[in-house]
C-alpha cells in the first residue's frame, strides 16, 4: 500500500485550481500503487478554505494553522510537513509547483534524505515503482526518472493534469504545529509586495495575451490589456518585456517564469526564444503577431500574422468586439 500526501500552502483562504490538479495526479498514483491520498494544508487562517479542500477527494485533510504560517518560510514549513509525513505511512509527498513548493519541497527532501523530482508532467507505474516524466533543457528533452528512497518527493506542473471535479467531503484533522526550530530565528519575514492584477490568474487563465520587447514601452501594454479584458484573458510577457520594465516580473512566461497552457495564447512582439516557448508550448492554440516573418515564434504558432502589432492588435480588438456584439 502506498499512501500519498498532497501539501499546499494557503493564503487569503484562496483554494487554487492547482490543488485539484495535484489531487488528479495523486488519485492516479494511488490507483497505480494501491492506497489513498491525503491533503495537508498549511496557513495562518484556513477557516474559509477547509470546506473546499475537503472536496478534493482526500482520505483526510490535515490542517496546520498558526499565526506565523501565512508567510510560508521554508525553515518553518519543512518540519511541519515532515511531522505529518512520518506520523502517517506515506510513500510520496506531492505539491503543485508554486513558488512556495519550489522553495520548501527541496528543503524537505534533504531533511528526510529523500530524492525529489521537480515539475513532473507525467506518471507511469511498472514493476511496483513510479516513473516520473519531467521536462529538462527548457522542455527540449523529457527525462523519465525514478526515485530510490522510501519517501519520494514530487512537484507537478498543474497544467499537465486535468483538475479533479470537486466532490464529497473528507474528514478534517487539526495538526499540532511544532514550535519553530532555531534556524527559523535566522530569517525574518519583512513583507509582501503584491503584483496587482484584476485579470484572471495567468497560470490558470483560458486565454493569455502576451507582449514582448516589440511592445516598445510600458504605456503600450494598454492595447494588450484592452484585448485581454474583452476576451476575459490574462496578460503575460517575455523576459525582455519584464527586463525593460514594461510589466511586473510576476507576468513572465517561460522556462524560468510561469508555465501556462491556455486554450488560446496570443504572442505579440515576441520572437519565440526557446526559453519563452518552454513556458507556453502546451497551449492549445497559439497565435503570433510579429513584423518579422522569420521570427522563430512562427515555427510553433498555429496562426501567424506578419504585421506591425500597433496596427494589428487594435484591429483584432475591434474585430473581437464586433464578434461579441
Amino acid at each position: 500500500m502506498s499512501n500519498i500526501l498532497i501539501v499546499i500552502h494557503v493564503t487569503d483562504n484562496e483554494v487554487k485550481k492547482s490543488v485539484f490538479s495535484a489531487a488528479a495526479f495523486a488519485k492516479q498514483a494511488a490507483a497505480f500503487a494501491g492506497g489513498s491520498y491525503s491533503l495537508l494544508a498549511i496557513g495562518s487562517d484556513l477557516s474559509g478554505a477547509t470546506a473546499k479542500l475537503a472536496t478534493a477527494g482526500a482520505a483526510k485533510v490535515y490542517t496546520a494553522q498558526a499565526p506565523d504560517l501565512g508567510n510560508a518560510l521554508a525553515e518553518r514549513l519543512a518540519p511541519i510537513i515532515e511531522q505529518v509525513l512520518l506520523a502517517g505511512s506515506f510513500k510520496m509527498v506531492v505539491s503543485p509547483a508554486s513558488s512556495v513548493a519550489k522553495d520548501v519541497m527541496p528543503r524537505l527532501a534533504a531533511r528526510i534524505g529523500a530524492g525529489m523530482a521537480s515539475e513532473v508532467v507525467g506518471l507511469s507505474f511498472d514493476a511496483g515503482r513510479f516513473t516520473y516524466l519531467r521536462p529538462m533543457y527548457a522542455g527540449n528533452v523529457n527525462g523519465a526518472v525514478q526515485i530510490d528512497t522510501p519517501i519520494e518527493v514530487v512537484t507537478i506542473r498543474p497544467t499537465e493534469f486535468e483538475a479533479l471535479a470537486p466532490s464529497g467531503t473528507s474528514p478534517v484533522e487539526t495538526v499540532a504545529v511544532p514550535a519553530p526550530e532555531p534556524v527559523a530565528a535566522k530569517i525574518e519575514y519583512l513583507g509582501f509586495e503584491k503584483a496587482v492584477s484584476t485579470r484572471p490568474d495567468l497560470a490558470e487563465a483560458a486565454i493569455v495575451v502576451s507582449g514582448g520587447r516589440g511592445m516598445k514601452a510600458k504605456e503600450n501594454f494598454v492595447i494588450l490589456e484592452e484585448l485581454a479584458d474583452l476576451l476575459g484573458a490574462a496578460v503575460g510577457a517575455s523576459r525582455a518585456a519584464v527586463d525593460s520594465g514594461f510589466i511586473h516580473n510576476d507576468f513572465q512566461v517561460g522556462q524560468t517564469g510561469k508555465i501556462v497552457a491556455p486554450n488560446l495564447y496570443i504572442a505579440c512582439g515576441i520572437s519565440g526564444a526557446l526559453q519563452h516557448v518552454a513556458g507556453m508550448k502546451s497551449s492549445r492554440v497559439v497565435v503570433a503577431i510579429n513584423k518579422d516573418e522569420e521570427a522563430p515564434i512562427f515555427q510553433i504558432a498555429d496562426y501567424g500574422l506578419v504585421a506591425d502589432l500597433f496596427k494589428a492588435v487594435p484591429e483584432l480588438t475591434a474585430a473581437v468586439r464586433a464578434l461579441k456584439g
Binding site: K186, L305, A319
Partner: protein, 276 residues
Amino acid sequence: MKILVPVKRVADPDNANKVKISEDGLHVTSEGLEGKPNPFDEYAVETALRILEDGVGSGNLRGEVVVVTIGPEDASREVRQCLAMGADRGILVVGDDERLDSSIVAKVLAKLVEKEQPDLVLMGKQAVDGDSNQTAQSLAQLLGWPQATFAGRIEVPADLASAVVTREVDGGAAKVKVAFPAVISVDLRIVSPTGVDNTVCGQKAYQEGPRYASLKGIMKAKKKPIDQITMDQLGVDQTLKVRTVRFTAPAQRKAGVKVDSVETLVAKLRDEARVL
C-alpha cells in the same frame, strides 16, 4: 567576508533545442554545443562581486569570492571564466554529470562549506540543463542555515552580517532578512541595474546583466589558483537518489499557417480553432 559561488557548466542554453538523445534513450548528448557557465550562476558571480565592491573604486573586494564546480576536468574553463570576471579562486570537484543528482551536489557543497567556512553561499536558482531548482534549498537544510531563494534584489548593510532579500514569488515579491551564514539563490532580475545595494556604494546603477571579463581580468585569471579534488577525498556518498532511466523527445509543435489579415485570423479562430 567569504562568498562561495557554485557554478555548473551547461551546454549552451540558447541552443538547448539542439541537444540530442542517444539511440538507446539512455543519454543526452550536447556534442557540438559550447560549454557555458549556467546563466544563473554567472549572475550569482556578478552578484557576489557587486556585494563585495569597496565603494572607493580601488578595484579591491571587501572579501573573497570562491567559485566551485562539480563536473568534468575541462569544466575548469568555465571556472576560469568566472575568475576572469573577478572571482578570486576556484575549486573543481571531479564528477560525471550523469552520476550526479541535486542531493549529491548539495552534499559535496556542504563538505566544501565545512572546509571553507564561507559566510554566504550564493548560487543560481536553477541549472538550465536539468531544470531541477533544488540544490540551494537542499544545501541550506544540510547546513542548518536559512535560505532566501529566487532573489531579485539584495541589500547588504555595511557590516556584511545579513542581507535583505526581495524574493520573486507567485503574485509579487516577498521580502526577508537573513542573518549570515546563509544560502541565497538568485533569479534573473538580480543582474538588473539596481539588483544589488551593498550600502557602501550607495544604490549604484550597474550595467544590465553580468559583466564581461576585461582583457586585464582574463590575464589575471590565468594566475589564479583552481584546486582540484575528488568526491572520495571529500568523503561524499555518491549513491544516486534520483535516476533518469530514459530520455525521450517531447511532442513538437508544428508551424501552422500564416494568415494575411486580422479578418482572416478572427475567422479562423472562430470557425476552425473554435476559441473565440
